[in-house]
Symmetry: C2
Subunit: 292 residues, 2 copies
């Protein structure tokens, strides 16, 4: 297992971690500058942040700063209520793929969607099995485009508390079942993003990480689970402040040969989003060395 | 599958559903009277409610009203930080067993505990695997007492969002693995409580219900998952108000031969606990007929 204590060369910042500080959007170009100024070598930006700054401008800035991507957030949302929704998802995912290519991302992260309409508070139905079938179909279709572009797809299983409205792939086992179905040869075109927040509770986690193996382990996200947790979406903890045994999890992932970035992704409306962005980045660096 | 539309003979009320209405405790004797007055035939009371009313008095009242129990809430909390904690858990679970016998419960429901100390905000460590080992050990020890008393133990897998602080058994598969280890003969002494709120998201749910079979299916709890959900603990929905396909779930359980009560358990600080208790019970009856 790599020693993270001496430097932060394997730290990546998911830019949602500092997207809005004290009520003010922190524009992506400034986030990138602040990361580079601290010797952070990689980021994972969100599509809306990239769109606001301009795709080509962001690509140029990344090159100028020597910043890599650890992933691109995000494609997915494959579930739909009608044919128009299906086509819109298809088109949007192709655009996400193209953006990921322009930015030189190592993978496009997929948050697959829950029951259609549920995120807007109007679920079209209660058939989670049907939603899951749409997800498999959607990934299968996108995988063809992804292979053409040589852009790997990383299915991110989301915590079961998001099954209804955000993602109906909820365990690593389930994500790997989809990978095995659609890419049985383990070509590298399809894998998973392991986010500690979503999977830490899973009694089968170690076994499924081993099952994934190096070819399927495309990204590692870290933060912490707070007790108590005040909000289902935006009360993630800084590494070290919660109950996830992050070094153990990282050990399992690295035992399979994973040698990529450890990407910090923290949604924290009441705490970290209320601080100065530079302070948050400095804390990420310190905790990355000590707690991951 | 049984037809619930014509009457509510298979409705049970978990008494936490109406434990505190509009800021006032609703004493258990009044809850029992209100249930009986509506033709509700079964309840599942909580230990603190029973203790407040007096164990023997509650047992007498149940008999006088002709009310059955669908379960007794609850034993468990097997995880500990030291030997004193281990002994305290052991003693308390034996008392819970004895109470369940006095009340004529069909099973003692087990919420197994999370990381020791976490529920009080001071987790003793981050080793979920060690906590799970303590749970298995605790259930094994309690099972001997339970067999002597002929009181079945029902392990309730809790939603993964409670893994840290309330219960580190988080899937039906995991609960059944414990059952298979401790009661391989499927004697009926050890099984599971299937609570729709905790397990509805699980892609392996149908298969694991089939695996459980009639001998292991000791209780069925229903409520609904709201989108959005505002609170991790106390924002459960009334059946029909959320996204759980309750008839499908009940169909799977009944296909195994389950013929017991459908127990309504709703923790709802902002909605149902703010209403008149009688109104809540009436709504449970109506929704039980129409949505379960």
């Amino acid at each position: 297992m790599r020693d993270f204590s001496a430097d932060h060369r394997w730290l990546s910042i998911n830019t949602a971690t500092v997207r809005k500080q004290r009520g003010q959007d922190w524009p992506l170009p400034q986030i990138l500058d602040a990361c580079a100024a601290r010797g952070i070598r990689a980021v994972s930006p969100w599509r809306d942040q990239v769109a606001a700054a301009g795709l080509d401008a962001v690509a140029r800035q990344l090159r100028a700063l020597g910043l890599e991507l650890s992933g691109y957030c995000r494609g997915g949302m494959f579930t739909y209520a009608d044919a128009a929704g299906r086509q819109a998802s298809r088109d949007d995912n192709r655009r996400a793929l193209d953006e990921a290519c322009t930015l030189g991302a190592p993978c496009l992260v997929l948050v697959v969607g829950g029951l259609p309409g549920a995120l807007a508070g109007r679920p079209a139905h209660r058939d989670l099995g049907a939603a899951r079938a749409q997800v498999t179909e959607g990934i299968a279709a996108l995988l063809e485009d992804a292979r053409e572009r040589r852009m790997p797809l990383a299915i991110e299983p989301l915590h079961p508390m998001y099954a209804g409205d955000r993602a109906c792939i909820n365990t690593l086992e389930q994500a790997l079942d989809v990978c095995d179905m659609l890419d049985p040869r383990r070509s590298g075109a399809l894998g998973v993003a392991v986010d500690a927040y979503h999977v830490w509770w899973d009694p089968k986690l170690a076994a499924q990480i081993e099952r994934a193996g190096q070819e399927r382990l495309l990204a590692l996200h870290v933060c912490d689970w707070l007790v108590p947790t005040a909000d289902l979406l935006n009360d993630r903890g800084m590494m070290g402040d919660g109950v996830i045994d992050l070094p153990r999890l990282r050990g399992w992932v690295e035992a399979q040969g994973f040698a990529g970035y450890s990407e910090v992704e923290i949604f924290s409306a009441a705490n970290w989003w209320q601080r100065d962005g530079g302070e948050v980045l400095d804390t990420c660096i310190e905790r990355h060395r000590r707690c991951v």
